[in-house]
Symmetry: C2
Subunit: 238 residues, 2 copies
DNA sequence: GAGTGGTCTAGACCACGCA
DNA sequence: GCGTGGTCTAGACCACTCT
């Protein structure tokens, strides 16, 4: 009497397609079958397939191009960075970062990390620490926590690519679709001074992010400390 | 050969409805006619009206309630603050602020303000300065610039309500639907110390916002300087 | 011209809120 | 039980892309 027990057809189609994309049936950049073909295959009307595809496009899992077809979204460097790396030049141009000074190690999750990722205490995680550069200048330090269970053998991929989310998608079929961030102002401490060329006590923007996969799992916890003296952190609300 | 010259019907319906809502034909909180009635009235199919209404609901201009009807959204204190005031308690609860120490004056726009609002140089604007409190503690200073032409007589409404966007909607039929923000970390200066109970040099989160109305006009420029020692600034990306 | 996604229509039935 | 929005279908035509 309290749990709905009712799921619209288009939402079931949505999930079925997500699963097949995640399973690699269609690779990023490849075209899906046409709406008509999918409708026949799934035994629903073309309008229902359309509604599911529209929702997938909203979640940026697919790209739709009129006259051409429907394509599995590529989380290429540009798309993924433009979407989640938000440091922006004064003229409004989104900056594209490079990485350096990178380390990855495997350890047990601290309780705060386990809580943020909704994992049992003490499970194995990877911890990545790296410095981000824009125009050769260090602008941010990132500490990234990933459950080992979701990313087996991640430490074999070192050096890690610039765009981690493209790696998650390509190697682990994990599609990041949204992120919750908590922002705070803080001052530079000794560790910050070492990696960023700022003075002790300089203001830093601290961003604490939890990234969610298309299936709702909390996949990544990330703490960034950013020097916003030359770049700003741009967001849009609707 | 290059400008499209083609506008989908549903998007024309969207604009017609926005205009009628802005003109006050239906007041916030009131119900619109049913989909069928609107379809008859406008001479389009019910499905086309639905598509326009769905888009309006996405832009939060209206509320749809199954079994009841479609209502003009009320930008009440809760809704508007929950949407655009993003300071959040450690437990994830969105804070609801109060205002104090408020001043409003009319003056000419500075060139940076005119540029941010895409106005001619030197037009008249209102400048509001106020302190925001959460649980009786000062947490942010706001400086707000509004074009006088959009908000004639605004200084007559003092003291201003806690939720400005509700006032914009109620008194001026201006519906804020989105905002672009630039965030930076900064340190407290003398003016900040006076209004916020922080020390000189304490870290502050500076938020520079341009708010956009449903018709795309840039309606408000706002600079907030926030003490994030007890609250965090929460955002979600999709 | 053929094939794709995008728009538009008309009509049926379902879930919800309320009297 | 009635009226509302929500879902689903089937079919037509339009705009875009490529050959």
């Amino acid at each position: 009497m309290d749990s709905p027990q009712y799921r619209p057809l288009y939402s079931q189609v949505y999930e079925a397609l997500v699963r097949r994309i995640a399973d690699g049936e269609w690779q990023p950049g490849q075209a899906l079958p046409s709406e008509q073909a999918l409708a026949m295959q799934l035994g629903v009307s073309q309008g229902t397939v359309r509604k599911a595809l529209d929702a997938l496009a909203l979640d940026k899992v697919i790209d739709r191009r009129q006259g051409k077809g429907t394509y599995v979204a590529e989380l290429t460097q540009e798309r993924s960075l433009f979407r989640f790396f938000r440091l922006t030049r004064p003229d409004g141009q989104r900056a594209v970062p490079t990485s350096g000074d990178e380390s990855i190690k495997r350890r047990h999750a601290r309780s705060s990390e386990a809580k943020a990722l909704e994992l049992p205490e003490g499970v194995d995680v990877f911890e990545i620490i790296r410095t981000r550069f824009v125009d050769e200048r260090p602008v941010a330090i990132e500490r990234i926590i990933l459950p080992e269970a979701y990313f087996p053998g991640l430490d074999q991929h070192s050096p890690l690519p610039n765009a981690l989310y493209a790696l998650y998608q390509r190697e682990y079929r994990i599609n990041i679709v949204s992120a919750n961030e908590k922002l705070r102002a803080d001052v530079a401490r000794r560790d910050d001074v070492k990696r960023l060329s700022v003075e002790l006590g300089a203001p830093l923007l601290q961003v604490e992010r939890v990234a969610l996969a298309v299936d709702g799992r909390r996949v990544e916890w990330r703490l960034s400390r950013c020097d916003t003296s030359t770049l700003s952190y741009d967001v849009t609300f609707t």
